[in-house]
Structures are given as C-alpha cells and as structure tokens.
Assembly symmetry: D2
Homo-oligomer: 337 residues x 4
C-alpha cells in the first residue's frame, strides 16, 4: 500500500476550496508515491470551517493554526490564507517539523521570504510554493519539448497575465487591494505566476526594468457580509495601496530577453495567462484560457508546411494528463463488465 501524507490546511475560502478539490482528486487520477489524507482544516470562524470540512471530507477542524501545526498526526501544512499571514504560519509549521506548501505570492516582501526559507532549511522539511501552472499538461509538455531541444537556444520570452475584475470604480477596496494584507497588487498576484513559468521553462532572470500603475486611486470601503446582505452600499472611500498593473522587461542569464505584464484592467480577459518563447529552432505559445492547447513552431519542418502546430495536450502520451473521457483506447475491455 502507498505511503500516506496527513495534510493540515490553513484557510478555507476561495483557495481553500480549490485545494480541497485537488487533495481529494489527485489519487483518483494519478498513481502517487504518497497518498494525501485530508486530516484537518483550519480557519478562525468555527462554523465556516466546520461546514467546509463536512462538505469536502476533512476529518477534523481547528480554529488556531498554532494548534494545527502542533498536532502529531499532521505531516504537511498547506497555507491558503491571505498573503500577510503566510510567513508566521510557515515559520511555525517549519519549527514544528512539518513540511510546508504555501500559496503564492510567498511573502509580503523579500525579508519575509528569506526568513521563511531559512526556517524550512533549518528544520530540514520539504517546502514548495503553489505555482500550480507548472503542472498544467500543456505547460509540462512545453517543458518536455524545450528539454528535447526542439526550440533550440532561447531568444525571447513574452508573457502577460491579464484580468479584468476591478475596472469598475465601484468595485470595493477588497483585501487584495490593500498593501498591508496583500503586499502588492497585480505584480505579486499575477506576475508571480509568469515569472515562475519563465524561470521553470527558460531559467534565471539577471536584470529588470519596469513600471507600475494604479489607475483608480480610491475605492469604496468594503462592507461586512451583514451590511452587504442588508443591501447597503459603502459611501466612504479608501486609498488603493497596491498596483493595478505592473510591467517589466528582463534580461535572462542565458542572454534571452523578456517582456512581462500583469494587469487587472484588461477587459475581456478573465484569467488570461500567456507565455510565448522564441528560440533558434522554433517557438512555443501557451495561453491558459485554452489551457489544454500548446502551439509549437518547428523550423526544421519542410519549409512549405511550416506553421504553428496546435497540440491538444490531452493524450496518453502527454505529461501529467489523466484521461477522463474519450477517445476509447484499444485496451478497452472486449467483454461487457
């Protein structure tokens, strides 16, 4: 029988739901060396966290992360809380000897990040940031194609992460727009992902130059859930203290150059993470809004049939893909079950 890993997750909102689904599903679709067990979920509001536990099958609940990290029956702490709390939880988990998996952006600033890295290294525990896009089948395939040498020496990286959810000036001053909770805006939230993808696929960045912009400087204060239910609208405004958009140019250690842009002000783009890589032998294009597709240009194809090939990264031969639908393979049973 496979080894088991007891997971204790902190946070139960937006990302907590996504992680619950992942912890549940992963062993169903993949053959794992270690099977996760949904041991405990932790949040500050007991009723909320208890409802979440029941719905998704978490075996127990905690309302204080310090109790969670102290439990003997927990192997790994999964951190899905807002950014300002990552550091304290991660350091506490590491000190308690737990492995640490933390949502991005990792920390509020470099100082915090370095403290977290020091803590996990001293504790000798495993640690990771949830840069989930690395395991999207089409991205994993891009990695494989680059390692096979199919696009050669890389000249260009061109990445954007475009969203459009705060263009309306009436959108309130949610925690993601307040520096003291979020640390940064589009930069930490979105550039974090495309920086990670480019480091994963191309390598380390050497120098950068860029700019940030906050298009809407003030927004209505966010009301409590009760006030929202009562149909009230906030008339008071507060200052937006993070960036709405962040753009930068980069030189990679390898000599490649890159362009990066993150914004929450691009109408029509819901969750549009794109990366293109141009090399001496070909090019690759990935776009998360068509997440199972990867485009490959192969300059060694016969000249008259060259072009971008639209690969659907959904076959048995593709990395990290778990088939859940057609086509039917030849090994399908020949006798009715």
């Amino acid at each position: 029988m496979a080894k088991q890993i007891n997971v204790g997750m902190v946070g139960y909102q937006f990302m907590g739901k996504a992680h619950s689904n992942a912890w549940y599903d992963t062993a169903k679709f993949f053959d794992l060396k270690a099977v996760p067990v949904m041991k405990a979920i932790c949040g500050r509001t007991e009723s909320g966290v208890r409802a979440m536990a029941q719905k998704w099958g978490w075996q127990s609940v905690e309302t204080d992360y310090r109790k969670l990290v102290a439990r003997d029956d927990i192997d790994l702490i999964d951190i899905t809380t807002p950014n300002s709390s990552h550091k304290d939880i991660a350091v506490a988990a590491a000190k308690a000897g737990k492995h640490v998996a933390c949502e991005k952006p990792l920390a509020m600033n470099v100082k915090e990040a370095l403290e977290m890295v020091r803590a996990v290294k001293q504790a000798g525990v495993k640690h990771m940031v949830w840069h989930n896009y690395r395991r999207v089948p089409a991205v994993a395939l891009a990695k494989q194609i680059i390692e096979e040498g199919r696009i050669g020496r890389i000249f260009h990286v061109r990445a954007v992460y475009l969203q459009d959810w705060i263009i309306d000036p009436k959108f309130p001053l949610a925690w993601r727009l307040r520096k003291e909770v979020a640390g940064s805006g589009a930069h930490g939230d979105l550039n974090a992902h495309i920086i990670d993808l480019s480091r994963y696929l191309v390598g380390e960045i050497d120098e950068v130059v860029g700019l940030k912009e906050t298009f809407i400087k003030e927004r209505p204060l966010q009301l409590s859930g009760a006030a929202i239910s009562a149909g009230k609208a906030s008339r008071k405004k507060g200052k937006v203290t993070v960036d709405d958009a962040a753009l930068f140019l980069a030189r990679f250690e390898s000599g490649a150059v890159g362009s990066f842009e993150a914004t929450r002000f691009a109408h029509g783009h819901k969750n549009d993470e794109q990366i293109e890589i141009n090399g001496s032998k070909g090019s690759l294009v990935f776009n998360f809004e068509r997440m199972n597709e990867l485009q490959l240009f192969n300059a060694s194809d016969p000249k008259h049939v060259q072009g971008f090939t639209l690969i659907k990264a959904t076959d048995g031969c593709h990395p990290t893909w778990a088939r859940t639908g057609p086509p039917v393979t030849s090994s399908a049973t020949s006798t009715p079950s």
Copy 2:
C-alpha cells in the same frame, strides 16, 4: 438537510470511472435538491470492481446486477455497461422500482428502446439517458440564448462528431466495432450525441436521408489482456460489423434543415463534437474541443461592429457553471481566515 439518493452503478470501466467522479463531485460544486450517495458498484469481476469501489469510495460491491436491483437500499440504477446489456439491466431495474439512468446509445435497436421505455413508464420511475453534453455550460448557455429569442427562427443545424482512433488498420476488433455488442458504430456512439443536442436546442426531426460507410472491413481479433501483456499480436482477422462513419441530412418539424456527420476516421480530431445553428436573428457555434466557449452572432448589433462573439461560458452568470478558480469576486473576505 438535503434529501439523499442511493446510487447503484453497473459497470466500472471507462464510463464507470467518469460516472464515479461525477457522483462524487456534483454536490461539492452545486447546491442540489438531492445529494447522491455512492451506495454500491456492480461488475462481473470481483477483484476489479472491489478495487474500483475502494479508490472512488463506493460503499459496497455486487457482482450480479440482479442482486443490485433487488437491494432495498438502492434508489437509482446507473447503467454504464456496453450497449448490448442496457436493455436487460434497465428493464430489471424498472421492475424492481428503481429509477433508471442509462448510458447512450440507449439500446441495440428501436425494439429494445421501446421495451425499455414501456418498462420505466409502467413502473412509474424516473428515467434518463446520459446525454451529458446538455449540461456543458456553453451548451446550457446556447439553450438559454435560443429561449431568449436571440437567434430567432432557426434555418440551419450543422453538426459533426469527429474522432480518429481507429484509422490504423492494426487497431483491433474491439467490442465497439462488433455489432452484436455495440449495435452500431459511429452512428450510435457519436451521432447519438449530436442528434440529442439538436433535439434539445432545435426540436424534433421529421425526415432524414443518409449513408453509412465502413472504410476498413476487417481487423485483427482482439487478444485477451494476458496475451497483450505477453506481447503477442493477433494475426487472425474478423469482420468489422458496424459503421466507421455515418452521415445524414434532416428536415426538422419546424422547417429547419440539418446536416449530421459522425466518423472515427478524421485525423486530428480527438473528440470533436461541433454544432452550429443559424437563425433569422443570429447564429450559435459550439465546439467541444473548446468546451467552455460559445460563439454568438447577433444580427441586431450595429452593422460595423457585427461578428461572432467568443463567449467564455465560465462566469457566475452562466448556467451550470461552478467556479473553481479566478477571478476573485468582490465578496471575497476582507479578513484573513
């Protein structure tokens, strides 16, 4: 607390896995009037069905569907077995007073189908065929758009279902290629879906004319799993007794005309179900290989900005959509959990 429905599923292979996932997930993502309970799974090979039960959380196993349908603790029988067994299981389930949900194509022929319908009607149970594409968010949105009158009187339906998994002549004579088990080939397997979609979206068909073709008449007999493991290849051939492709034209009761095509011989198309509908006020295009997209042409837009609009049917406002990822909504908590 929500009402519960105890499910007994027959079949545990390809479709059995897909259904297990659906039975598990549905109450996590949607607020349901009745929550399914994965009570029992049934298959003829005990070891296989037991492994499946353990992996996906079925509470018990059976190896004879007759025992399953007789159990008092089962409310609904879900049939995911090869086509030739649908009728017997469905009729038995109905006679035992169970609701019946059956994979498509419903039956081997019209005679069987009528017998099944008679049985469920006499028993007064609920019954359905798993035409799953109706609940794809983009398809449900198409339905809504048509009902809102946005495309007007319908003139044309244009539907294809293209796959490419048996083009290789060495592909063996699997059960789906044998009439005595499958009933038909591309027609029952694929046209079934696009006929259903067009009935759902446009209405009943009045008359048809068409053709069927079997491009490769003989194929290697399929070996047992043991022989495959031993690396043996079958040298004996058997006759393919179903259609590789089936095309037909149709007139709908409403006066619309339609074109339908199903094939397993279209290289580059893995699971490419497409439907386009043209009406007096606009058009709709759906393509399952980009399953979250729906294209709408609205002839009442200002002339110079008319065109097909690529709707990503993944927002809170779209039918049957359950958000599992960004964008972050304004109701996100303002306090760290």
Copy 3:
C-alpha cells in the same frame, strides 16, 4: 517578348470589375507565358461600359457580344454576365474561333452545358470555367500536399459554402433569386465552387443524395435604379424560384464520402467557403475567410507534438503566391538604388 492574348470581356458589373482587376494585375505579379491585353469590353448600356473601360484601361468598347466575337483582334472571350446568357455567348464565341473563359455556374442546366462543351470541342478552342478558388495559394498548396502523398488515402470530404445576404425578408427579388435568369440559387452559385474544389483535390463523385430548401418563398419585386434613388420601396411581391440552401451527401469514385452544403441563410458568414479532407495519413482544412491559411494534420509527426499546423501560404516556397510585402529576403540590394 512574351506572347500576347487579346481579351474581349462581356459584362461589366460586379464580376466584370473583379476580372478587370485580374487581367490588369496578373502580368505584374507573375511571369506569364502569355500576357493578356485588355482589348475590348462589352455591355448593353454604352455609357456604363464606356465608363468602365476608361477606369480600368480597356482599349475599346462594344455593346453587342455578337460584334465582339466577330472581331479579328480578339483571341479570347471572357463571359461575366448573368447565367442565362452564358450559353449563347459561349457558343457564338466558339463558332467564331475564340477561346472561351466563362463564369460559373457554367449553364442553366445540363443540356446547355453539353451544348457549350460540344461547341468548344468542335471549334478546337481552349475553354475553362472560372473556378477561381483553385489558384488561391492555400488551395494550390493543398493540391501539392495531397499529390506529395502527405495525407494518404482519402476517407472524407466536408465542404460548406455559407453566406448571409438574403436573410432579411425585405431583400428584393434580385436576378440571382429568379430561376429564369440564374438557373438555380445557392446550389449553382455556391455548391458549384465546393464541388469543383473537391473534384480538383479528391476526384470524381459517383453518387449523391440531397435536399433543397427555400426558406422565404416570396420577396418584394426589385425596383429600377431610378425608383431606388427616389426612395421608393416595392410593395408588390414575386415568387422566389430558386433554392436558398442546398445540401447533399456524396460517394466519390475512390471510396471517399462527402458532405456538401450551400446556403445564403447563415448569419455571420459573409463568404465562407470551407473544405476539410481527412485521409489515412493526415487531414487538411481550408477556409476562404482566412484565405492565406491552410491547416495540415500530419499523423506521422511524433505523437506528443501532433496537431493541426496553421500554414500561412504566403512564402516564396508556396505555389501561386506573388510576394508584395515583407519579409525582406536575403537578396535585397545592399546598395541604395
């Protein structure tokens, strides 16, 4: 110096303009064995034909095609008039020993077509129908790719020609909607092209079955230009005597099967001619609304990088392409001119 061909063109409206442009441009962009000379243009209304001649550089005008075909200085008669006049002009031209190039659809019916073929054969002149799409670079490339054996034995042809210009019931009873002038509707106008493409690319059709439909049975009579200028609308209606849509299925001599559809009732499709061909080794897709693109699926590519390749058929290596823009080639002069 290249040989010259003296052209006499009959018709000066819609197609007359397109042909004038082609006759002028062709020798500018291609090295031709014979250079066309725009000798004479012929139409019944002298003022109109004279204005056309001046604008486009036709050297002389005629108002009676019988005079045109009788002229000694004319080598080739180009017929761009409405369908009902094709036969008489072509037969007269052939009898006068002129080569004949005729717009499609060739004739009002098979009887006329046979008479025309007899006439040109007896006269021993060269003759052709203007199936212009054969020389679209992406189509010429498709032909080359098929001849190179890249898609293997052909199983499927899937062709549509979709337009949307007569959906409005107020659209008048133009000549293209009257059988006595047009011969047929969408069938002769649009299916003619995709039938030609499939014969060009795949081969002869053996048998067909199909249907035709006229969605709007009556339309306002068309007013004269003067009445239109005066802002009058016709209140009288006349019967539409041609098909709005025509669909058919086909078996090719080679064993391939095909689906064809032509309609003028598909909103959002201006001039949307599409053809897809599926073979044992690959597939090809062409769509005139992106006329310089050809998609090729090559089943012998490594499995994990297979997909449809979007070829832009606009390079020096592509057939019938004449470069008029970037990219700059290496043979660009190194000294300023």
Copy 4:
C-alpha cells in the same frame, strides 16, 4: 473631372514595387479627390529602372533624383529608397517645391528628421510618412470605434511587431543590418509602425524605458549579385551594427501605459504586427497576419453574452474598404448586361 497629381517616385526595389501597385490601383477602387498620375520613376541603374517603368506603367524614367525633383511636371516626390538617403532627397524635393511622401523610418536620427521637417515647413508643401497600416480597414475601424467612445478611457496599449527572417546565422550582412545605411534595426523598421499606430489610436507618449539586443553579432558579408549567381558563399564576416530586437515600456500623456516589442527573431511570425488596447468600456485587438479582422470586447453587452467579437472589416459599412468580391448586394443589376 478629378484633379490630377503627378508623382515622381525614387527607388524601384521592394518598396518601389509595392508603391507602384498602390499608385496604380487606388483610383480604381476609391473615389478620390485627386487622381495620381505615374509620371516618373527614378533609380541609379538605368536598365533596372526602365524595366520597372515598363512593367508598371511609369511614363518616364530618371537616374538622378536631383533631375527628378527639378522637373516642372512633377507635383509629389515619393521616397522608397534605403533609409540613409531619405533626408537628402526629401530636403531637395521640398526646396524644389514638391510635396514629399517618405518611407519609414523617416530618417537616420532625430537630427535628420528635424532638418526634413524644417525643410517641408519652410517650403509650405504637404508631407507625410508612409505609415501604411493606418489605412488597413480593420485599423481604420479601430480608430472609428475609439472615436465613437466604445472602449472608453484607455488604460493599456500592448503592441508587438514580430518577424523571423534573420534567425539563421548564415543570413548575410544585408543593408538593413548595417547602421550606416539603415540607421537602426528592428527598432526603426518595426517599432516605427507600432509606435505610429499607438500615436494614431491612443495619443502621444510621454516617457519610455527599454532595452535593445543583437543576438548574432557577426554575419557573412553580402556578395554581389554576380557572385551569388556564381554560387559563391561569403566566408568573410562583418559586424552587425543594428539591433535584432528592441523592447520598451511607455507612459502616454493620457495616463495609459504601453508595452512595445520589435524583433526579427521570433520563429513562426512572418509579418506579425499586433496591437491591443484596453479601456474602461472595452478592448480592441488587431493582428496584421489576419489583417481584415478586428476584435472588440464591449463591456456594456449583457453580461452572459459578453466576449470578444471577431469583426470582419470587409463590408460596405467599414472605413477604407473597397469591395472586390462577394457578397452580392441588393443593388446588383436585375438585367443581364
């Protein structure tokens, strides 16, 4: 009768051919206030320029631009020569009282550009740079849509111009790669176009920051035409003195931010000029490789049918479009000509 403008064009290579075609065609497709007359073409090699004149219908030839600008029968000088000669020709033309239309990039540097502007202003002649993309129908439509207020306040400009013609290290040191003739590389050649488009559509740029890169530092010296014909390959190399790629970020006077990138090292992109603009009420996307398409996102559409609309800017209602093909309009003649 329309006024006439006598054109004298300098240069007869790549761009000379494109301009000849334009000068010839324009009055055929558009109703102009002034009709161009192809009066004289000028180049240093008499045989070459004479052949060009004959092929394209230029009425006379010159081999010295000083003679051309001095001619009384010339109204406008069109400059299509390599960049290093633009200034001298333009200044001479202006001094001779001729209108000046000059290829881009306008000059070798700002100093030259200012001298040219001074000259045309002092002479009081009309002057323009050939930023041809402004008149692409889809771009002209973008301009119209912005002026109609459909996308609101502009936040973002995102523009790239990608080509791939010098990735091969064996590509020779052509004039476009030598600073003394070209002035700059991708920056002047390609960024010039997207800077112009963004100024045209969005407004003036206030500040920039960026980087340039030359990926291949040395290339084989370019041989003479004779040596190339003799099959010789150059073994000597020379230094590439211009940029292969140039990227920059910008702030516009209006408060918008922009990202710009030009490269000749992006495999798969032949002439791929793209611009996207995001505003408070919508977004626009243009891509020259699908030059007749414009995408518009309209945030005021009903939420559930929002998306990017793919406008084909090829209808009578679209700016700068001249119909040359279907669809057939209702004003088509009802009587055979």
